[in-house]
Assembly symmetry: C2
Homo-oligomer: 120 residues x 2
């Protein structure tokens, strides 16, 4: 795949992948891919990450049903970050928020929950 | 700052920060922050990154004029990624595209430019 050669993977072989809701632009999560998971994401049409903690491939939604169907995959000027636009089934976050970024910081450093949990 | 204690910085002391246009939801770029640049971003009201290549603080826009005025700063469920919504002046990308993610991949692995350059 031609674009793969333009990507700069970290020393550990990983590249960060930002996942964005293709419908409303909400940033849902960020996770890591290695070369094979990037290729699988394109071929299989849903996001496939590399779990740094479990050290295994992670098809998002395989256990939860919350698959992310790929709409487009872009890469940045430095080739060291991916942006994947998806159609998200259910919640992206394992805590049942639509987005993992459900906590927003106040100017004084405290924070608040910025959204509602989805129903399980 | 209370939320800082919830953040998990990498072994190198850095955390990835996704920057999103607060007006239209476009993901503009991803860069890295250390603890002090997170605090400066909140206090100064514009994004301050840590440049991994130059090993120095990097106030986005200081040389280009393309500042990013912070609208909100959120953090994810794992506390290992930031999402900063900004009002972007000019282009986020040093190549004069509004977003650094100006290349999108086709199913066959080739890619195309998905947007126009802004005028310098």
């Amino acid at each position: 795949m031609g674009f793969i050669d333009l990507l700069k993977f970290n020393a550990d072989g990983l590249i960060p992948a930002i996942v964005q809701d293709a419908q409303n632009g909400q940033v849902l999560m960020m996770a890591w891919m290695n070369k094979e998971s990037v290729e699988r994401t394109i071929k299989e049409g849903h996001t496939v990450f590399w779990s740094r903690s479990r050290k295994e491939y992670w098809v998002k939604g395989q256990t939860s049903g919350h698959f992310q169907k790929v709409v487009s995959l872009s890469f940045d000027c430095d080739g060291d970050t991916l942006l994947v636009k998806v159609n998200q089934t259910g919640a992206a976050c394992h805590e049942y928020y639509k987005s993992c970024f459900f906590r927003t910081v106040n100017p004084d450093g405290s924070w608040y929950i910025n959204s509602e949990k989805l129903e399980k």
